[in-house]
C-alpha cells in the first residue's frame, strides 16, 4: 500500500480523491483544504482525516506521495516543501506560474530522486497516444505544419470574478485551457521554441483572456497554429483537436476519433493508403475504477505504479510540464 495525501480538494482535487479512494493500492492518509464545507463533507462521509494546514498534515500522516491541486500560484511553495521532505509529487496543471520556479523544482526533484508527475491527462487518451506512435514512425514524411485547437463553453457570459479570472493566480484561458493543447504539441512533435505572434482576446471576462490565438515554432523547426477559445458554446464540453500535416500524410485527431491520411500503401502497419479512421473505443485500455474518462483514472494509476517502482516515471514529468510553462510565458510576451 502507498500512503497518499491530497492538498486542495477543489474540482480536480475531489476528482483525484474519488479515484484514489477507489484505488486498491492506495491508503488515503489525509486530505487538506481551506474550505470548511469541503473538509466537513470529506471527514463526515468519507471518513477522511482532514486538515486545513498542509504542513501539519504532512508531519502527522507521513505520506509517501502527495497530490497537489491548489490554485497554480501556490504550486511552487507547496511542491518545494514536499520535495524537501523527499515526498513523491503529483501536481495539477499548469506546473508553475513562471519558468524560473519550475526549473528550481525540476532540479530539486532530481536531487531528491522522487517521482514527479503533472496532470496533463490528454497523454493518457488512446487516440493521442496513437498519434504519437504514428508521428514517431515517420509515416507522415516530413512534418511541416500543425494546428492545435480546443474549444468549450466555460465562460459564455459576463459574470462575477474568481481566482480563475485572475491571471496572477493562474486563471484565464491560456493557463487553464490552452495549456493542455500546448502540452500535447510539445509531446507529439517537439517543445515550443519561439512564438511568432499571439493574440489574447477577452470576450466576456474583464481581467483575463477567453481566447488564445498564436503562431508557434518548435525546437525541431516545425511551425503551426494554436487556436483556443473557452467561450464557444457550440461545444457541449471541452473538445481538443490536433492536426498534423506532413509530406506523406496527415493526421486529424480528437479525444474520440483518429483520422489518418496516408499517401503510400504499406507505410504503416495496420493502416492503408488513403483515409483511415479509428475510434477511442478501439484504443482505450480499460480501468479498474471509472469516474469521468479513462484518462483521469489512468494517470493516477500510472503515478501510483511509478511510486511503487512498477513503471518508469517518464510521462508528464515536471520537465515536460515545464516546456508548457515556458511556451505560455513566450505566448504572453509575444502578445504585449
Amino acid at each position: 500500500m502507498i500512503k497518499v495525501a491530497l492538498i486542495g480538494a477543489g474540482k480536480m482535487g475531489i476528482s483525484h480523491l474519488s479515484i484514489l479512494g477507489a484505488h486498491p493500492d492506495v491508503d488515503l492518509v489525509g486530505a487538506c483544504d481551506t474550505s470548511k464545507m469541503i473538509t466537513d463533507f470529506l471527514s463526515r462521509y468519507g471518513k477522511f482525516n482532514c486538515f486545513t494546514d498542509y504542513q501539519k498534515m504532512v508531519d502527522e500522516t507521513k505520506p509517501d506521495a502527495v497530490f497537489v491541486a491548489v490554485p497554480t500560484k501556490f504550486h511552487y511553495p507547496v511542491i518545494k516543501y514536499l520535495l524537501e521532505k523527499k515526498i513523491n509529487v503529483f501536481a495539477e496543471k499548469p506546473f508553475c506560474l513562471n519558468a524560473e520556479q519550475g526549473l528550481e523544482l525540476i532540479a530539486l526533484a532530481g536531487k531528491q530522486q522522487v517521482v514527479n508527475q503533472v496532470g496533463y491527462h490528454n497523454k493518457f487518451i488512446g487516440t493521442f497516444s496513437e498519434v504519437r506512435k504514428i508521428v514517431n514512425s515517420g509515416a507522415l514524411g516530413e512534418i511541416y505544419h500543425f494546428v492545435g485547437e480546443a474549444y468549450g463553453p466555460v465562460v459564455i457570459k459576463a459574470k462575477s470574478e474568481t481566482w480563475r479570472s485572475d491571471p496572477s493566480e493562474g486563471g484565464g484561458c491560456l493557463l487553464d485551457y490552452a495549456s493542455h493543447v500546448i502540452d500535447l504539441i510539445n509531446d507529439l512533435l517537439a517543445p515550443v521554441n519561439s512564438v511568432k505572434g499571439s493574440l489574447l482576446k477577452s470576450i466576456f471576462s474583464k481581467n483575463v483572456e477567453d481566447a488564445v490565438y498564436a503562431l508557434l515554432e518548435l525546437s525541431n523547426g516545425v511551425s503551426g497554429v494554436l487556436s483556443v477559445n473557452w467561450s464557444d458554446e457550440t461545444y457541449r464540453k471541452m473538445s481538443t483537436t490536433v492536426t498534423i500535416v506532413g509530406t506523406k500524410g496527415k493526421i486529424v485527431s480528437d479525444a474520440n476519433e483518429l483520422r489518418v491520411f496516408l499517401k503510400d500503401a504499406n507505410s504503416l502497419k495496420g493502416y492503408s493508403k488513403g483515409w483511415n479512421v479509428k475510434y477511442i473505443t478501439d484504443l482505450t485500455e480499460p480501468v479498474d475504477f471509472y469516474l469521468r474518462g479513462e484518462e483521469y483514472s489512468a494517470q493516477v494509476d500510472y503515478f501510483v505504479k511509478a511510486v511503487a517502482g512498477k513503471v518508469p516515471n517518464s510521462i508528464n514529468t515536471f520537465q515536460s510540464a515545464w516546456y508548457t510553462d515556458n511556451a505560455i510565458e513566450l505566448i504572453k510576451k509575444s502578445s504585449k
Binding site: K11, L17, S18, V154, Y279, D282, T284, F289
Partner: protein, 288 residues
C-alpha cells in the same frame, strides 16, 4: 420497467466516438419538434419510456407532453440528474461553493457559507434534496416512476465513500416523489456492494453492458458473474460499446445475459430505432 427504454444522447449531441456526428445530431435536433417527432416514432414501435438527463431543453419536451395528456397517457419519463456538464462548466468558472450557491435555491447555502459553523450531515443532505427538487421542477405533472442519479455523481460519491449521500438520494426520491431511485454507474460491481451494505436491496442499476467490455470497470467477467448470481434490477446501456460492435451481435449478447430487466438505447433515425427494437424482440424470443 419496460424491456426497452429510449435514451436521449442523440438529442443533445452526445456521441462517444465522433465530434462530427455529434455536431450533425445537434443540427438535426435543434428544434424541439424534431425531438418530439423521434419520440413519437419510438412510441409507434411500442416504446413508452424515455430516459433523459435534466437538460434545459427537456423542460420544453415536458411542456409538450403535459399539454397533450391524451396522446401521452401511457408515456413515462425516467429523469437522470444532474445534467453534469452544466455543473462541470460552472465549477471551472465559479469553484465548488460558487456553483452550489448558484444552483441551490433560497438562502440555505448562503447562510451556511457565512456562518463559519460546522456543517452537519443533514445540511449536506438538505443541499442535495434542494438540488434534486430544483432538477425535478420541469417534470411536474409528468409520470416519472424511476429517478436516476447520473454516473459521474454516483461514481464520485462511490470513490469518496460517501455512501450516505447515495442512500440520501434513494430516500428522498422515494419519499418526496413516490418513485424508485435508480443509479447510473460505470462501476456496477462496486456500487452493488455498497448499496447492499447500506440496506438497499435489489437496486435499480444502469451500467455499461456490452460484448467488448467497454466501460465495464473491473472486467466483463465480474459483470457476467453478478448478473448470474446477485439480486439487482439491471439496465444495460452502451450495448453497442460506443459503436465498436456490429448491432445484431451486440443485441444478441445482451439479450442472452440473465437478469437484464431493461435495455437502454438511443437512435436518431426511424430505421435505426425499428432495427434495434426488432433485434431485441428477435433475440428475446430466441432465448425463450
Amino acid at each position: 420497467m419496460e424491456r426497452i427504454l429510449f435514451g436521449d444522447n442523440q438529442f443533445f449531441a452526445v456521441n462517444h466516438i465522433s465530434d462530427e456526428k455529434s455536431r450533425a445530431q445537434s443540427i438535426k435536433f435543434r428544434e424541439d419538434s424534431a425531438i418530439i417527432k423521434t419520440l413519437d416514432e419510438a412510441r409507434s414501435f411500442g416504446i413508452n419510456t424515455f430516459m433523459c438527463t435534466t437538460h434545459d431543453r427537456i423542460a420544453n419536451i415536458c411542456e409538450i407532453i403535459r399539454n397533450d395528456p391524451e396522446k401521452y397517457k401511457d408515456f413515462k419519463i425516467f429523469p437522470c440528474m444532474p445534467y453534469a456538464h452544466k455543473y462541470a462548466n460552472a465549477v471551472t468558472e465559479l469553484g465548488i461553493s460558487g456553483t452550489i450557491k448558484q444552483y441551490v435555491p433560497g438562502n440555505l447555502f448562503g447562510t451556511m457559507l457565512k456562518g463559519g459553523v460546522a456543517y452537519l450531515s443533514k445540511d449536506f443532505l438538505s443541499i442535495m434534496e434542494l438540488l434534486i427538487d430544483a432538477e425535478m421542477k420541469m417534470f411536474k405533472g409528468v409520470n416519472t416512476p424511476v429517478i436516476f442519479l447520473q454516473n459521474v455523481i454516483t461514481d464520485l460519491f462511490l470513490g469518496l465513500r460517501a455512501d450516505e449521500m447515495l442512500v440520501g438520494f434513494y430516500n428522498h426520491v422515494k419519499k418526496k416523489y413516490n418513485a424508485e431511485a435508480g443509479f447510473i454507474t460505470m462501476n456496477m460491481p462496486k456500487l452493488l456492494d455498497v448499496l447492499e451494505r447500506n440496506g438497499i436491496e435489489n437496486p435499480i442499476i444502469c451500467s455499461s453492458i456490452n460484448k467488448v467490455g467497454f466501460r465495464m470497470s473491473g472486467g466483463i467477467e465480474i459483470y457476467e458473474e453478478i448478473l448470474k448470481t446477485r439480486k439487482l434490477r439491471a439496465i444495460a446501456m452502451q450495448v453497442l460499446g460506443g459503436g465498436a460492435i456490429n448491432p445484431k451481435e451486440a443485441i444478441e449478447y445482451v439479450c442472452g445475459l440473465p437478469n437484464i430487466e431493461s435495455i437502454l438505447f438511443g437512435a436518431s433515425s426511424k430505421a435505426n430505432i425499428q432495427n434495434t427494437i426488432e433485434n431485441i424482440h428477435h433475440f428475446d424470443l430466441a432465448k425463450v
